[in-house]
Symmetry: C2
Subunit: 354 residues, 2 copies
DNA sequence: TATTAGCACTCATAGATGTTGAGTGCTAAC
DNA sequence: GTTAGCACTCAACATCTATGAGTGCTAATA
């Protein structure tokens, strides 16, 4: 059977009204809509076809139809294609409010990202998550060891443009000033400008050798520093608006909802969402991906849809922004919002860099 | 009417069984329990009295009784009194598992506290929160300004024994090395050893004056540093196990539950819990306080009970650990658990200090 | 006087039954 | 190919009826 123009239109209409109402839509509803003037009976026939083709399904015999995952997929793909076309027109739209709120506390990246998650949740009424950027591709910019007191050294490492990591290191005795100076020089010569992922055992070994006679004593200083740099790699996840999912009755059965909320609280699982980059063709110019139902990488979220976008903090240093909602999600609005948001973040980060 | 021994026992029995079952308990249930051999009729009479006195209440005419807030209060007070007596016997109990898990990643205080919240939630099946310590009484230990690149200074401030704050400060041009050195000396002479709450405008003014001719240029450097120190004061709140509250049907109606979860997500409200220290007599030697129903300082939580304990990171630097659950909470277990936990934290922190 | 047995009464809960209305599929007419 | 018409299905809602746990009260008992 072929998906002709009329079928397509009907499918579109079904999905659109279902997105709005959340309830199965019947043939009469569609036939009353303007555009295509057909009786409910005709619609019914077409619907039967569409069901056979797998785009819609019936919750029970005498109910209207709801979109299947495949139906959503078709809808979204179509929408994305349209969006890609109208891309040029996409001018500055609703920026201001978010913009200001966001800019208010830009000084700490963590705060900013948390804020992004919050605003986004507030604007969309879905659950949101933002992952910290992946620092594997960043360079170390600055390293410094300081003696805080007789038994503690403080290592400060600045990674990328604005990320600071600290590590307290216990030592047995105060290290002479000139030695500390030497150490700092050593650290900076070896680490500054090196990208985080390049710091491997080999490099560490080389550095230890360079430390010469002090190698033994200072071994765990190196370890501490490496440790701190590494810890920058564990991407953090900020979530917000988790309780929004309770607003959607189809997810609201108390047990399922509980599981969902747990996944959101236990943020680790969400990292899966980020792992697979560009695995299929759905990525578009804004790095926006849509996962519908079973397509979601996290099993618990199989009744949900997830839309993710990519932001870029600086060249090669990226993170993801994700929106988690019911399959009956306002994909259009979500995609638009994400697109605007990443645009804004881009400008913010660009300005920062200068 | 007087609350004689028998009434007290009956009340106790009612509350205990209600805590277990969560369902209104009837006269027959009590009369069948061993201990006091009375017929259900007698129990009924006593129950009527207890209800008149306000310790229990009936959800509806033909149902059993459930404890009122006042009933819980009596029960908890009694339990706390007993606990205070048996205090000496309170030896090392169930430590190991928690202990190990906790110690695993002690190196960062934030991680530790988050972990504490998590373990506690896991062990008790309630929602938990842990507030970061209140640094107002801590001393600044170490301050350092470093030039990261031509336009950025990095201020590192170590507060208390282990808390590090960073602040990036934009400058217009590189500051000569010797000036930076002077500045560092200045900062350390004025700030080291000073408690955070003593850093006020006056002190800042004095410092600015001391900076002499550079005062103008360096003004916002001071501001930045002060800012960073101040930010240490905003107590952070870590929560965990929020979804646990969905397990208790009495809180589980989807809307109420949503509100509760929101409060937990929007952690700010929880700060109220900490504000009032020792306001009434219920504080005991472990700083454990129990808020029942309407006693909770946060209105949304009026159907819940909250138990808080205090931990001490170091002399005068304290934070709170809180458990949020249904009024039908296993107070005994919760109090015991909190007591053990604060004990453990004490030893951990004590060891840290050395 | 305190306790208890007995009884009528209440009421949430759960099941059975009926009604409604939205929606379908199919057939026959256009 | 489209549509009107009709019989059919079924979730949702309301109504009714046990059922049983639990009560309060009264009168008998120790």
């Amino acid at each position: 059977m072929e998906l002709d123009e009329r079928k397509r239109k009907i499918l579109q209409a079904i999905i659109k009204t279902y997105l709005e109402t959340g309830e199965p839509v019947g043939s009469r509803t569609i036939s009353k809509m303007e555009g295509l003037n057909l009786s409910s009976a005709t619609i019914r026939n077409e619907m039967a076809d569409l069901e056979e083709m797998g785009y819609i399904l019936q919750p029970h015999t005498s109910a209207g139809r709801i979109p299947s995952d495949a139906g959503y997929r078709l809808y979204v793909d179509q929408m994305m294609a349209e969006k890609a076309l109208e891309r040029e027109e996409h001018a500055l739209t609703v920026k201001d409010e978010e913009h200001e709120k966001l800019l208010a506390k830009v000084d700490r990246l963590e705060t900013l990202l948390q804020q992004v998650a919050k605003v986004l949740a507030y604007n969309t009424n879905y659950a949101t998550m933002v992952t910290g950027p992946d620092y594997k591709n960043t360079n170390v910019k600055f390293v410094q060891l300081s003696q805080v007191d007789d038994e503690q050294l403080l290592a400060v490492i600045v990674v990328g443009s604005n990320v600071i990591k600290n590590k307290m290191i216990d030592v047995e005795e105060r290290i002479p000033n000139e030695e500390l100076l030497k150490l700092n020089v050593l650290l900076n010569t070896f680490l500054t400008g090196v990208s985080v992922k390049e710091i491997d055992l080999e490099l560490v070994q080389t550095m230890k050798q360079q430390a010469g006679v002090y190698a033994d004593i200072l071994e765990h200083i190196f370890d501490g520093i490496i440790d701190a740099v590494r810890s920058a790699t564990e991407t953090e996840v900020y979530t917000s608006g988790a309780t929004n999912i309770l607003k959607y009755p189809e997810l609201g059965d108390i047990n399922r909802a509980g599981e969902l909320l747990e996944v959101l609280e236990e943020k680790k699982a969400l990292n899966h969402l980020i792992a697979d980059e560009n695995e299929d063709g759905t990525t578009n110019q804004y790095g926006i991906q849509v996962y519908i139902g079973d397509e979601t990488p996290v099993e618990t979220l199989n009744d949900c849809s997830i839309v993710t976008a990519t932001y870029e903090l600086e060249e090669g240093v990226r993170g993801k922004i994700g929106i988690i909602g019911p399959k009956r999600m306002d994909y259009d609005k979500v995609v638009t919002t994400l697109r605007n948001l990443t645009d804004e973040l881009d400008t913010i980060f660009k300005n920062k860099k200068t």
